[in-house]
Symmetry: C2
Subunit: 927 residues, 2 copies
């Protein structure tokens, strides 16, 4: 006969933690604790298999279930020393659902089951608490009526029918809260509730506890097919066949008197990770009371209690009297608790978050699970548990969520500081910043020169603002998403940014912004939290977290494990140095366009754009050549020994000319040409969809002299350094390739200049370099086999690839992306995490086809996704050689790569084998 009911309690259980498939998560964990000999209120679990049988049988149970439940209940009665339905010593139970996967809020729960007019008297006598008895009964009838008998309001907008009665009672008694009702009131309420049920359902409220139990079991199994659950499963791809289990467990109470208590605790400090037991409890209380904040919770340990008293300015005598620790108030229960938490942590080998209830001096454990913790705690606990030989290094790596590291890499607000939040935007680049508001990039620069800290506030930023962004403490924009110009540049700079804050109404003329009724003028102080998106009035104190030794240890382990190299996106020697400190193994993307904005350069750039012919352009480019050569020299030097990928000019030319009339006039004056000429040029450069316009290699094809100048700068710098004995590996990357001919033309241009320069410096054979391409146009991925005939490496530009594959402009998607995420049209923002089924398929196709042509093709990613964990893991799986991300995300990528190596080693090896890509790197290596 098939087993459908699994008992637990009394130091043993028929199930185990690894039986989640048939017992559900809750049932399996309760069984596991029982097996460990930990006092858990006894109960039993009806398996998920029964759920399947139930539905296959047209909502009928096989006859053996009844016997299984009665046998299990007898066991429970024996363990708990009470009897289900007994009027003198009644056993009360809870009935809960529990599926294999967590489905929060999907199905309901029934508590205090087993109460009726007789058993309530038993409870009252047993607890010597009449109000407790009637309140429990009243709650049970209400909950059962709602969950099992489906007593719903007649119209959606009506109030819950039980609450209507409750209100009337409170009104009658002239009281405000439920707590002010006395035992008699509650008894009366119970009667009225039952009367209402009879009226509506035409049948008496079931007084037979067994009938109550079957009703609850039916309700839980039935809830598996309610609309809410079906939708949830659909959205989360949970198969209908999995089914839910039903757990039925004896009730215990922490609110029966002063020998009762309830509390929650962590086996280590969840905030710092310190190896110290930490928890809070309340005497004569229910679980909700601890978290609700209506009473001040007391500390579990003496040490914790003393620390708390100091922080709360409470003297020791008062503390010991009014707020004793559990260690002091119930030493025996405390001792049991210590034994149990130690056992649980050793068993689960992780910091546990536990819930306990002490009923009449007896300790009961209600839950254990891995505890939530801060990033700092997460790193410390993982590393210390390895040192304690509790877990392996691999486990330690997997214990820390890569994205959590973000918290450790940026300044944060002092959590104790007061905050006046006026609005919230997108948390576009983490960190904390305070400064005085300015509305123009030039003002930001001017104020900074006067030693003022500023926050640059713009409707949106453009490359013209780069100087101001660079000096500002933080950036705030009213428009644009997580991948808007402001967001991308800020993340690259490791600078705090709140973007797309739609509530801001910015008036550049008045130099002020309005948020609701708040008016913030130029010069006013504000603070930004780039990790939450909060915008606050005034100055909020910040602190700079130290990267602890544990962090370094964990990263070392990650580096020993990962198979992907991690590079950085860096446009300046400073960025390169920061990234190197964070562990970058080279540069995956140097954007050259930012270099054209500083000082004289922008003038030369504009001269080039305004030139009427090739000769004019060449003359202007000569001026830029000097600057670019110096830029590259600095970057190569900062990244000595590592590869440096440099992308040739990418943005459309109109980004380099001023759009505003005032600036056009100024430019005309500076260049000594009529403003009409400038206006006409700006007008002629206008594009309807600049994203899909005249940029990237399209510029290089139309103006080969630009590519030529850039190639010359790269190789002049590289050759000079080579002569000086510095090892450099330039990788020239052509952007926006869509056809093989584009790459041929651009490559030939770069190759010619490279060979000429190498010849000129006599460093032939000493300077290795590569010429490759971005894969960011869908067509390039599609014809990757052709592209690989010319490209020596591919770097996936997943920002643009995502834009074009989805047809989303990242600058405009703010209009509908939030709605799409809310309506679950998209599960994740594809600009944050690679869309694996769509964009990812193109990437996989591109790599497979590219390596079919060129098995040793080097492949990386330089889109923003290179610093996002799920995306890094995907890159690992499909066989990339490296990921590249902004400097501050390098540690995240390193850790994510290590996770990937531990979780998806086989996937990667399969992919590489299929691609004939050899050798398969065992671990990440330098360069």
């Amino acid at each position: 006969m098939k087993k459908y009911v699994y008992g637990f309690g009394g130091g043993k259980a028929e199930g185990r933690a690894d039986m989640k498939d048939i017992l559900g998560g809750k049932g399996a964990n309760l069984a596991e604790m029982s097996n460990l000999g930990i006092p858990v209120p006894a109960g039993f679990t009806i398996s998920t298999e029964m759920c399947d049988v139930y539905y296959k049988n047209n909502r009928n149970y096989p006859p053996e279930l009844d016997k299984g439940i009665r046998d299990a209940m007898t066991q429970v009665e024996q363990i708990m020393g009470a009897k289900f339905g007994d009027p003198v010593n009644p056993l009360l139970v809870s009935v809960r659902s529990g599926a294999r996967a967590s489905m929060p809020g999907m199905m309901d729960t029934v508590l205090n089951l087993g109460l009726n007019d007789e058993t309530v008297q038993g409870i009252i006598k047993k607890t010597n608490n009449e109000r407790f008895g009637w309140d429990s009964y009243r709650r049970f009838v209400q909950m059962y009526g709602d969950v099992v008998l489906e007593m719903k309001p007649e119209k959606k907008e009506d109030e819950d029918p039980f609450e209507v009665i409750m209100h009337a009672m409170k009104k009658k008694r002239g009281v405000k809260s439920d707590a002010e009702l006395n035992a008699a009131d509650l008894k009366e309420l119970t009667g009225e509730f039952k009367k209402l049920i009879k009226e509506k359902k035409g049948a008496d409220f079931p007084t037979d506890p067994w009938k109550q139990l079957w009703g609850a079991i039916n309700a839980v199994f039935g809830s598996w097919m309610n609309q809410r659950a079906i939708t949830y499963r659909k959205l989360n791809a949970i198969p209908d066949e999995w089914g839910t289990a039903v757990s039925c467990q004896s009730m215990v109470y922490g609110n029966m008197g002063d020998d009762c208590a309830t509390g929650v605790a962590f086996t280590r400090n969840p905030s710092t990770g310190e190896h110290a037991f930490y928890g809070e409890y309340l005497i004569n209380a229910q679980g909700e009371d601890v978290v609700a904040g209506t009473r001040t919770p007391q500390q579990v340990t003496i040490a914790g209690s003393k620390n708390w008293a100091v922080a709360s300015s409470i003297d020791e005598a008062t503390r010991a009297k009014k707020y004793p620790s559990l260690e002091e108030s119930m030493p025996a229960a405390y001792k049991s608790l210590v034994d149990i938490y130690t056992k649980l942590e050793n068993h689960y080998k992780d910091m546990q978050d536990i819930e306990f209830t002490i009923q009449q001096s007896k300790l009961w454990m209600l839950q254990t699970r891995s505890g939530k913790r801060t990033a700092e705690a997460s790193v410390r606990i993982a590393v210390e548990m390895v040192n304690e030989k509790m877990i392996s290094k691999d486990t330690a790596i997997l214990r820390v969520k890569p994205s959590d590291l973000d918290q450790l890499l940026h300044p944060v607000f002092d959590p104790k500081a007061k905050k006046n939040v006026i609005c919230k935007g997108l948390p576009a680049s983490p960190g904390a910043a305070s400064g005085r508001v300015v509305f123009h990039a030039e003002d930001a620069e001017a104020w900074t020169e006067k030693k003022e800290k500023v926050i640059l506030v713009r409707i949106e930023t453009s490359p013209e603002d780069i100087g101001g962004m660079n000096v500002a403490q933080g950036i705030l924009t009213a428009r644009g998403g997580m991948t808007s110009h402001a967001a991308v540049v800020a993340r690259g700079m490791g600078k705090c940014c709140v973007a797309g804050c739609g509530e801001l109404v910015i008036n550049y003329n008045k130099k002020q912004m309005e948020v609701g009724t708040n008016v913030v003028k130029e010069g006013d102080w504000i603070s930004l939290n780039g990790s939450t998106g909060e915008v606050m009035l005034g100055q909020v104190a910040t602190m700079n977290p130290e990267l602890s030794g544990n962090f370094g240890t964990l990263m070392k382990w990650a580096d020993e494990t990962r198979q992907l190299d991690v590079r950085t996106n860096a446009d300046t020697p400073k960025d390169a140095e920061v990234a190197r400190k964070f562990g970058a193994q080279g540069i995956g993307l140097t954007r050259t366009e930012h270099m054209f904005f500083e000082g004289d350069r922008i003038k030369a750039m504009r001269e080039m754009i305004l030139a009427d012919d090739t000769a004019g352009r060449k003359k202007a480019l000569e001026k830029l050549l000097v600057h670019q050569t110096n830029d590259f020299y600095g970057i190569f030097k900062a990244m000595a020994g590592y590869p440096v990928t440099i992308r040739t000019l990418d943005p459309p030319l109109h980004e380099f000319v001023p759009n505003e009339e005032k600036n056009q006039a100024e430019m005309a004056r500076e260049m000594g040409i009529p403003v009409e000429k400038i206006r006409a040029k700006v007008e002629s450069l206008h594009e309807f969809n600049p994203m899909l316009g005249h940029r990237g290699c399209r510029l290089g094809i139309t103006y080969p002299e630009i590519t030529e100048m850039q190639a010359r700068a790269i190789f002049e710098a590289a050759c000079k350094l080579t002569k000086e004995g510095v090892v450099v590996y330039p990788e020239v990357m052509i952007p926006l390739i869509g056809t093989i001919e584009e790459l041929k033309i651009e490559k030939a241009n770069v190759y010619r200049v490279a060979e000429e320069t190498i010849e000129k410096y006599g460093v032939k054979g000493k300077l290795k370099y590569m010429i490759g391409t971005m894969i960011e146009i869908p067509r390039a991925a599609i014809i990757a086999d052709q592209i690989a005939t010319e490209a020596q490496f591919f770097s996936f530009g997943t920002n643009d690839l995502t834009q074009m594959t989805f047809g989303y402009s990242r600058d405009d998607a703010g209009r509908f992306l939030p709605i799409y995420l809310e309506k679950k049209v998209l599960k994740v923002d594809p600009f944050q995490s690679i869309d694996q089924e769509g964009v990812g398929l193109l990437m996989k196709w591109g790599i497979d086809r590219g390596r079919a042509t060129r098995p040793d093709l080097k492949v990386g990613i330089c889109g923003e996704h290179g610093g996002e964990s799920e995306s890094v893991m995907f890159c690992h799986k499909i066989g990339m050689d490296y990921v590249s991300c902004s400097p501050y995300r390098v540690p995240i990528a390193r850790l994510a790569a290590a996770h990937a190596a531990l979780k998806y080693r086989a996937d990667r090896e399969d992919a590489l084998k299929k691609q004939n890509h050899a050798p398969i790197k065992a671990k990440a290596s330098e360069a």
Copy 2:
């Protein structure tokens, strides 16, 4: 011993027409004519295989070649009755290259080979024409010096060295043209040429004819590997191994005296297709003279001659005396020519373009090939040849180039009219139009009401201009490409349009435009040729070509042959009617947005856009519902019996609000709201890349009430008609789908409304409908297997799919696409013809994956490509069910589909088999 030399002439040949691979095109055709017993100057061809041997042998010939050539030359001498190198009766030859594929201009030719100081005397004596002899000799030395001895100018910019000598001679003699030099001058020149060669090359000019011949053969084989030829082959994917043949043929002359003549003729009239011999000739002339226009050519036939005289106002006596036909002047030769052309046409079974020379009364044929013809002639000849039982219907279909039909479907300018072309733009929509210039859509409408014909001239058009475009004779824009708004809408309307005319400088304020020095003011007449892109001053007379009976016959045959259905893109009942006349089998795309611009509708639309909440939007939509229902009613009725695909709202909302301040003010006045509100709304709707913005289904997801209104209009109209007994098949098409969830949401909305409405009208089971999607976002094609779970049909929107797959904005690509085409980065404009390797691969993937999910998935195309022949053939091959195009392109698509069925039947069947798509349609059927 392998045969390398193939003789021809004297009524026989060793080669045949089907031996192009080894004899090249020219050699094979000369052999074929010889075999037919047609008098061809005898000669021989050295095979392409020798070219391969030559290169494999390090540019050496096998010994047997010499013997082969000498034997062949002996044959030629016997046939021609002259001897190579003989001083008394010399045989002169030409040496030419000829590859398997035509490679025009790739390699050079040497004429008059065999001349030296002795043989020139033989020629002079034989022709009794000293000047002819020395001129031939002079030309030979010059040509041989250039082609074989590579006498190039020392610097690129210098003049040809022989021309320098020639100039000096003319100066010395005080004459202007070569023709004024006499025999003695030419003799002197020959000597100077030879002297120069000796000076530069250090060796005498070769006087031995055999040495000359080997030199020429080397030069031709050598030219196969010159840079020009290599590049040409690369661009046209011609393998190096194919090699070139060398044809050596005896010279004949039409300029030896009055018993000589030369001419060209067509076996049927190339302009009208009339079955009548038609040609021109000149007595005592060379081939160049006929085409050069220096002398008035005479007609070959008497009938032709008389017609010509009438048209040229020449009386019969003058004609007969001064311009007799060949039929009159050389009746014997004429008779031979008639026999030969008849034989050739019967042999090649196509209208032939022939070249002939009469040397001393003897007729020689120099060339025959299929003749170029107008579209009208092409159709007539094909149909008549079937009637004459000369060719099959299949052959007739293949003889007419689908794109040529375009010429037959639009008004054209009278070819005899005078034209004053001031500039040229893109031939965006064919046809001819004259009208008075207006610069604003409202003006176009106002003037038209006053019965004025207008040409609407805009920098670019927008949907706001639709009314003006509709009434204008033609549209001219300064910006935008072949798929710009103006171009697409104009083609849809079958209206003439010249787009992207960059030379126009339009000044809306002054109401004038400048083109170079021409200033055209409002009200001035201009004319547009939409087939050439020409813009002309003044009025040019147009004519409306009749669709002849032959056209109808050919289209009937095409319909019997093709397997693809052809639908039309139509937004109005009028368009639908036109397209039906052109043979459309339904509507593949109805754009609903154009319907929102007329009269009151735009007001309701704007009211909807300005509404602050759903209730406000619904109120405005109610007004639109009435209009849309009527629109659909009309369209369904016009297409009764055929499917009609209706696309829900696609463009971004900002296209419906005015951008100009003046219009905003007017709108504010009309709607009675503050202009600030309108300005703010317009501002908030602004997008950086509208192409990738908030449009298509993204609107429907954010504002479900819009989709709902449209669905209601569609089904109200369809149900009404169904009740009236009219058969309608609505197909609702959701645009811009990129994820399966979008389609689910939109489909559910449409489905609910459809079922409600069908229920309401009681037409359940009587009205069949489908809900499907555009595939225009790359991601939709990538996840087509998912999309097909919901979509009942796919319609490829290849305009947008091309934009996103390439990352080209069609509105901006004018900046670089022309350069890309010029530099051969792209072989064809991907907006004109589907990019088969990139976009096409996505399409193929999409169909294959879609039908893997849903084998009966209906698939079509509604992008502009649906009316372009190569694209239609591609759609056939990959297994589509139908193509849809603008009404005026329907016949083109029908014919292209027939071509595809004849050429690529197996490809299609393979594709369909792979897709499990059944039944495989044998022929195109109705609905």
